[in-house]
């Protein structure tokens, strides 16, 4: 791996064993375990000495574990790590384990370290054949015990982890003895190469209630100490060196996760229907297929926004049609989801050609991205469209194009879409016949020409994040102007209202998939606007449903009508917040009360 690779954003998928989201700095915990030395004992007279060296390391390991156990029992606290240490002591005393290792030294003429490694590998082979996940996972105990012997065969003592602020621990695997050496209150999360739901790291993480993703296979080779890293233990996803946009989304996710209370989850499974029987569909916004179970569990009726950008980044070569298809097939037709909306590629060309001399754009938000880029690189666009079409025979699929600013773009995108579709049909490939085509409404000009756009599509999806930044001329990453970012700006509300009204007049569905849709402060306003679908971060769904179910369409409309008569953002915000606090005092507590 070159220097440059270590600066790239990397996404890794493993097994989420302890839920929650954490954003922080990586600490690579190195037990030197990948580097077991191997050498041949050329002279048979060396064998006896090697066996003695092994026995000494065995005694040393046992002594350390007994000491560790005593230290831990003096500390009191949980009993769980203690019995695990007992098991490791028993393994160190196990006749079979010892005999096998000595036989390796004798028969293979190898050094003690390698002989232990061979014994571990032999047991791994036996355990791998077990069908029971839990029992199979017990190989980790043998690895820990063996690792300790190998470490004691070396010269240095075990590293004691010194950590400053709080770190996310990256390791091959962790034993209770390893975690015992850490300042555990400083650990924010775990990500390891090995392990599964029943491994010790998982148990420790759940008892500490910190996120953990295990079984990542090669995270230790992709991360360096001090790298920025995000762990999403709920989805089993780890993002190394995230870009600011992704970090921002995960900050939000983290906040929502922390806020989510168990009682709110009761609302997840209930339909989003107001007290006067007005219902709104609830979508989940996701970027990894691993997030789907969580979206369903939190009450998404469908996927309202599947961001496809991660299929492109984080890889050496462009994704081919099959790479796309594998993802889309996991998104479309999933039991528990009524529909899935796939958004086509929405980044700039730099994500396609990281090493090419694509000139850096001064203002990429207004640059060659989204549909603009796709219409320039038609062949790349077709690969994605073909895969989406091929996934469409699985279930209800909606496709939407981002960054549409005028009628030519949607006409051209549709032309290419049908061209690809007809090619597939000609080849006899099964394609769903009720795919809906939609556009993101996020560029202000799209609102102005919405009547024309509505004639060409089956739905609109309002992307409030971009719409707000474009219409108010705020660079979202410029902190000096973020104070101007205001979803309740009268201009923003008026644009949204126009889109809904035009869409409904044309008889098409109008969804919203920006952050605004998931903020409960705006739920009544959005109800009043009569959006057909609100799509949001899945973790935000239960609270939004609670608000929907506690409101009436009538009062929401009254609130909206009143808001539409006000001329300043501050008046609107004051009224909306006061109304929400009055109606839902539990959900909108005023600070200090």
């Amino acid at each position: 791996m070159g220097e440059d690779d270590l600066k790239e954003t990397t996404v890794m998928k493993g097994i989420g064993v302890s839920p929650g989201v954490v954003i922080g700095k990586a600490y690579l915990f190195d037990r030197r375990d990948a580097q077991v030395p191997l050498y041949k004992l050329n002279d048979p007279s060396l064998i006896a000495g090697e066996i003695r060296r092994f026995r000494k390391a065995l005694r040393e390991s046992e002594k350390q574990l007994i000491e560790l156990k005593n230290q831990l029992s003096d500390l009191g606290g949980g009993m769980q790590p203690l019995y695990i240490i007992d098991i490791h002591i028993m393994i160190l005393r196990d006749r079979k384990f010892i005999d096998r290792t000595i036989r390796n030294i004798r028969e293979m003429s190898v050094n003690a370290e390698w002989a232990v490694r061979m014994t571990i590998d032999k047991y791994r082979e036996i355990f791998d054949r077990m069908e029971d996940d839990y029992l199979r996972g017990r190989i980790s105990d043998i690895q820990y015990a063996g690792q300790r012997i190998i470490t004691n065969l070396g010269e240095k003592n075990l590293t004691v982890v010194e950590m400053g602020e709080g770190f996310i621990i990256i390791a091959t695997d962790l034993s209770p003895a390893d975690t015992a050496q850490m300042k555990i209150d400083r650990v924010l999360g775990f990500a390891t190469d090995m392990g599964g739901k029943t491994s010790h790291t998982a148990i420790v993480a759940r008892s500490l209630e910190i996120p953990a993703v295990l079984g990542l296979e090669n995270i230790t080779r992709s991360v360096q100490t001090n790298d920025d890293i995000i762990i999403d233990g709920s989805a089993g996803v780890v993002i190394v060196r995230p870009d600011p946009e992704v970090s921002k989304r995960y900050e939000e996710k983290k906040r929502l996760y922390e806020e989510a209370q168990d009682d709110l989850l009761d609302y997840a499974k209930l339909p989003a229907v107001t007290k006067d029987s007005y219902s709104v569909e609830i979508g989940g916004n996701i970027e990894f297929i691993e997030e789907i179970p969580s979206a369903i569990a939190h009450g998404a009726d469908g996927i309202g926004l599947y961001r496809t950008e991660f299929i492109y980044i984080n890889r050496k070569q462009l994704p081919d049609e099959e790479d796309h298809l594998a993802n889309y097939r996991s998104v479309v037709g999933v039991e528990g989801l009524s529909w899935s909306t796939i958004r086509t590629f929405d980044l700039g060309g730099d994500k396609f050609f990281p090493n090419a001399q694509t000139s850096r754009e001064l203002n990429p938000q207004m640059g060659l991205r989204g549909i603009r880029f796709c219409l320039k690189e038609v062949e790349l666009f077709k690969v994605q469209l073909r895969a989406i079409l091929r996934a469409s025979d699985r279930g209800k699929l909606r496709i939407m194009f981002p960054m549409i600013s005028g009628i030519e773009e949607i006409l051209e995108a549709k032309r290419i879409f049908y061209e690809v579709k007809n090619e597939l049909l000609k080849r006899g490939v099964a394609v769903g016949n009720d795919i809906e085509i939609g556009v993101m409404i996020e560029v202000p000009s799209a609102v102005i020409v919405a009547e024309e756009l509505a004639k060409e599509v089956d739905f609109f999806s309002i992307g409030t994040n971009d719409l707000i930044q474009y219409v108010l001329a705020i660079d979202r990453i410029n902190e000096r102007v973020t104070y101007l970012y205001e979803p309740l700006h009268p201009a923003v509300l008026s644009l949204i209202k126009q889109v809904v009204d035009i869409g409904h007049k044309a008889g098409i569905r109008v969804a919203m998939c920006g952050e605004m849709a998931g903020d409960p402060t705006y739920t009544m306003i959005l109800l009043g606007l009569e959006l057909d679908e609100l799509s949001m971060n899945p973790l935000a769904i239960p609270r939004v449903k609670k608000i929907v179910r506690g409101s009436t369409l009538k009062e929401s409309k009254t609130l909206l009508n009143k808001v539409m008569t006000l001329s300043s953002s501050s008046e609107i915000r004051a009224l909306v917040e006061a109304t929400m606090q009055k109606r839902f005092p539990e959900e909108f507590q005023v600070n200090g009360q």
Partner: protein
């Protein structure tokens, strides 16, 4: 004296590491030699790895053989441990 008895393993997780450790501890309390057998494979009752590699999930049939002066007491101790599901669910 030789005592042989067959047991059904009824705890939810089967014979995992902690349970295996309890079997070894029990075996170590007696003079008698202890052997565990499942599906024709026999292992020493004092070897935690031997017991783990027998692979006994819930529902397994495990035969214990105790040989020695205190074989009877040893067998009673095993019977109790297994009847109590090793103190687990």
């Amino acid at each position: 004296m030789v005592k042989i008895r067959t047991f059904d393993i009824a705890n939810r997780l089967g014979i995992h590491a902690r349970v295996a450790a309890k079997l070894v501890e029990t075996a170590n309390r007696f003079q008698a030699d202890i052997f565990l057998e499942k599906d024709g494979v026999e292992v020493n009752g004092r070897s935690i790895l031997g017991i783990l590699t027998l692979f006994c999930p819930r529902g397994s049939r495990l035969t214990i053989r105790a040989e020695g002066a205190d074989a009877e007491e040893a067998m009673e101790a095993f019977a109790r441990l297994i009847a109590e599901k090793f103190g687990e669910a």
